[in-house]
Each structure stands twice: as C-alpha cells, then as structure tokens.
C-alpha cells in the first residue's frame, strides 16, 4: 500500500511539474510572439511614415499621375487604420504594396525623378524598411509555428486547452515590395571592400572582444556549441604534429 502511494505521489509530482514547465513555456512563447509582432508593427509604421514624403516627391515630377498617387494614399490610409489581427493587417498591406509597386513602375518613366536625391534617399529607406519588415515577419512566423505546434501536439495540448492557449495567426503578405517592378534589389556581392581581419585573432576592430548588438561580449565557444561537422568520422589519421 505504501509503495502504491509513493508511486502515485511521484507520478503526481511529475505530472504537475511537467504541467508547470509546459505552462511557463507557453507564456514565454506567447510573449515572444507579442514582442515579434511589435517589431513588425514598428516597421509597418516606419513604412507608413515614409509614404507621404514619397508621394509628395513623386507629385513634384509627375503630378498628372493622379490616380496612382491617390491609390497609394488610399491604401496607406486603409493599412494604418487596420489595427486588428495579423491576418487583417496582412490583408490591408496587400493593396498598399500593390499600389507602391505601381508607383515605382510609373517612376521608371521619369528619369529626372529617378535621379532626385530626395527620392533616392526615400527609396533606400523604403528598401531598408522592407528588409527589416521581412526579417521581423520571418521571426514572428517562426515563433508562431513553434507555438502552434505545441498547442496542437500531445501532451502540451492538454495544458493549452486547460489554460486557453489558442493558435496564433501567421503574418503572410502575398505581395512583396521588392522585385522587378518594386524597390530595386541591392546586389551586395562584394559590397564590403574595406573589410579586413582587423585586430588580433578573435577581436573586433579596436581590440574589443566580439560583441553582440546589445554590447554584450560574445561568450567563448564550448564544445557542446560545436555544430555537427561533415568529416567528423574521418579516415584513420597519419599522426599530426603534437600541438594543442
């Protein structure tokens, strides 16, 4: 009888402990998704803020392209007013991206506009924003994918059902702003001519250890960090010179 009791207690501890861990992981994942969505929102706002300037600049050279300009303005207004779910936001982004693509196609007919410094600066900024937006979108969707998988899979779906963790929506925009008729692609091949090995081995220029964007030092690698490498199981060796 005592043994049975002990087994029951152990099982209960395992189940409750597992449930707590699973619950906490759901909370962490949900917060990560919210954080990732906030990043998308920031980049979308940045894009919305750039569009009025872009429209005004284009209007200065191509005022009779009224319909195209109005389309962009209208689509922007629709997109900025969409404050619902990722799916709704994505649906509102589609027409905006399409309108912007049309605008950039029209610009091709105005060489003076294409050479305008203000326009070029806006175009570059829009390109960068688009890149950041795509990065944020990929990160958001990856987190949603992981989270949804846990919501669906056993046994974590039990915890999800009990504590009302529901599947999250992906953020999928059909049209990409980049492309043949959109913001021009930047070919980065060989675009870092000034790059060099810099300071001593393992240090960034200025003698600082490699740092993360937040300024924290990159910690030294540990054997467990090492990626699986092709060739780990190499042929029997000729003994190399002994050095460590």
């Amino acid at each position: 009888m005592e043994v049975v009791l002990i087994v029951i207690v152990i099982l209960a501890v395992v189940v409750v402990g597992g449930g707590i861990v699973s619950y906490n992981r759901f909370v962490t994942q949900r917060n990560l998704i919210r954080d990732a969505w906030a990043n998308i929102d920031t980049e979308l706002r940045r894009r919305y803020d750039l569009i009025p300037n872009l429209v005004e600049t284009v209007r200065g050279y191509a005022s009779h392209e009224r319909e195209v300009l109005e389309n962009v303005t209208r689509a922007r207004a629709m997109a900025t007013s969409a404050t619902g779910s990722p799916a709704e936001q994505a649906a509102a982004e589609g027409p905006l991206v399409a309108a912007l693509r049309q605008l950039f196609a029209v610009v091709e007919n105005y060489p003076d506009l294409k050479a305008n410094q203000n326009f070029l600066a806006l175009q570059t900024e829009l390109t960068n924003t688009e890149d950041r937006l795509q990065t944020a979108r990929r990160f958001y969707n990856a987190n949603v994918r992981d989270y949804n998988r846990r919501v669906q899979a056993f046994p974590s779906n039990v915890v999800a059902n009990v504590f009302n963790f529901h599947e999250e929506q992906f953020f999928e925009v059909d049209e990409a702003l980049r492309g043949d008729a959109g913001v021009p692609r930047v070919d980065f091949t060989g675009a870092t001519p000034g790059v060099s090995f810099g300071g001593p081995a393992g240090t960034a220029p200025g003698g600082e250890p490699p740092t993360t964007p937040s300024g924290a030092s990159v910690p030294p690698a540990t054997p467990s960090d090492a990626p699986p490498m092709p060739g780990d199981e190499g042929p029997p060796p000729p003994p190399p010179p002994a050095r460590t």
Binding site: N128, D131, R132, Q134, T135, R138, F139, N141, A142, R145, D146, V186, F188, T189, G190, A191, T192, P193, G194, V195, S196, F197, G198, P200, A201, G202, A204, P205, G206, E208, P209, P210, T211, T212, P213, V218, P219, P220, A221, T222, P223, D225, A226, P227, P228, M229, P230, G231, D232, E233, G234, P237, P238, P239, P240, P241, A242, R243, T244
Partner: protein, 228 residues
C-alpha cells in the same frame, strides 16, 4: 617458435618504417601542393600558423581534447581577405584496460571577416546525430522552407539574428550550393569548413566561401553593424 621472433620483429619494423615514409611523403606532397597553390593565387603560405588562429572564437576550434592548425594561406582572393588552412582535433578515450587512444578529425577551413557583429550561428548539413540532438534539445531553428529544414541544421545564440541572416535567398543558395560545407558566423568572422580536401580543391572552396559571404542579406549589416 623463438626462431621466428626476430623475423617478425624485422617485418614489423619494416612495416612501421614504410608507413612512416609514406606519411612523410604525403606530408611533403601536401606542403608542395599548398606552396604551388599559394603562389598561383598570390597568397602567402606558412606551414605553421602565424596568426594564432586557434584563438578565433569559432566553436569548431573548441572541439576535442587537442587541436592544431597547419598549412595556412593568407592574403586577398577575389578582392576578399581570406585565411585558408588545415585544422584537426582529436578526442582521447580510455578503454576498460586503461589504454588510451586518440581519434582524429580533419578539416579544411576558410576564415573571412564580415562587416557585421554576428551572434554565434552555425549552419551545417543535417545528419542523423543532429536530428537526434534536435529532438532532444529543440535547439535547431526552423525556417519557412521545409526542404531547407530537412537538409540543414541551424543553431544560434540569438534566433532573431538567425532569421535575419538566413533569408529565403540564403536558403535557396545553401540548398543549391552549400554542399558538404558547414558555416559558422561569430562576431565579425565567417568560417567555412568541410572534411579535409586536397590543396588543389581549395580554390573551389574559396569560391564557395566568397559566394556565401555574398549571400549575406544587407539587412544584417544594417541591424548588426560591426562594433567600433
């Protein structure tokens, strides 16, 4: 029985001498191969490592119980500063009778600087072991392309960085051209590594390394600029 012992000793000694000679010849050929290649590519060659490359913060250089670097080529290749070299490490093990043995692993590597400050991220071909590790630790980062997820294993100290670094274009390129290479970025360095190759195969590997660097999305340089 005793009469045959001297004969056996002589046979073993001859075999050992033959193996040693073969190894010496192979090493000589490799050195000559590297010297010729370096001269052809306009690179400097050093039999030893003059740069202390083992101090580079890449994870591969922390593996094993002992390690070394040799045959270092250094210079500019296709307008890119590179350091190409042989790397090896060994794992030591002891059997039940206390006998020690070493198992060696050999790699060919290319190290390049990158104008960014990268979180440690490794991109290596998937294997049975990496799949098992993924299942146990959930450390593999998954991307939108299922084909890519099946073929490549990506781990990173910062998943957000990994999703910035490995975009759709990079996925496609790796699927088409990554081949047997493993890639690691950390700080302002890119390391490309694969199972040891002959010196004459190095130019193709250098091309792969430079092409990989060319695939790095511009947004990486925007969001993670090199410190200093």
């Amino acid at each position: 029985m005793n009469d045959g012992l001297p004969f056996l000793v002589i046979v073993f000694a001859l075999i050992a001498a033959g193996v040693a000679y073969w190894q010496w010849q192979a090493r000589k050929r490799r050195i000559a191969g590297f010297m010729g290649l370096a001269q052809r590519l306009g690179l400097r060659y050093s039999q030893e490592d003059p740069f202390g490359l083992l101090a580079e913060p890449v994870a591969l250089f922390r593996r094993g119980d002992g390690r070394g670097i040799e045959h270092v080529m250094d210079g500019s290749y296709r307008d890119t500063p590179i350091r190409a070299f042989d790397y090896w490490f060994y794992d030591e093990s002891t059997d039940s009778q206390g006998r020690r043995s070493r198992s060696y692993s050999y790699f060919s590597c290319v190290l390049m600087p990158i104008e960014a400050s990268c979180y440690r991220t490794s991109i290596a071909p998937e294997s049975v072991f990496s799949r098992l590790a993924d299942a146990l630790t959930f450390r593999d980062i998954e991307f939108e392309s299922e084909a890519f997820n099946r073929a490549w294993n990506v781990t990173s100290d910062e998943p957000r960085f990994a999703h910035t670094f490995v975009d759709a274009r990079m996925c496609e390129w790796l699927l088409a051209n990554g081949g047997p290479h493993a890639f690691e970025v950390v700080g302002d360095r890119i390391l490309v590594a694969r199972r040891r190759i002959a010196p004459e195969a190095y130019p193709a590997m250098l091309d792969t390394a430079i092409a990989f660097r060319g695939q790095v999305p511009t947004v990486v340089f925007d969001l993670y600029p090199r410190a200093g």
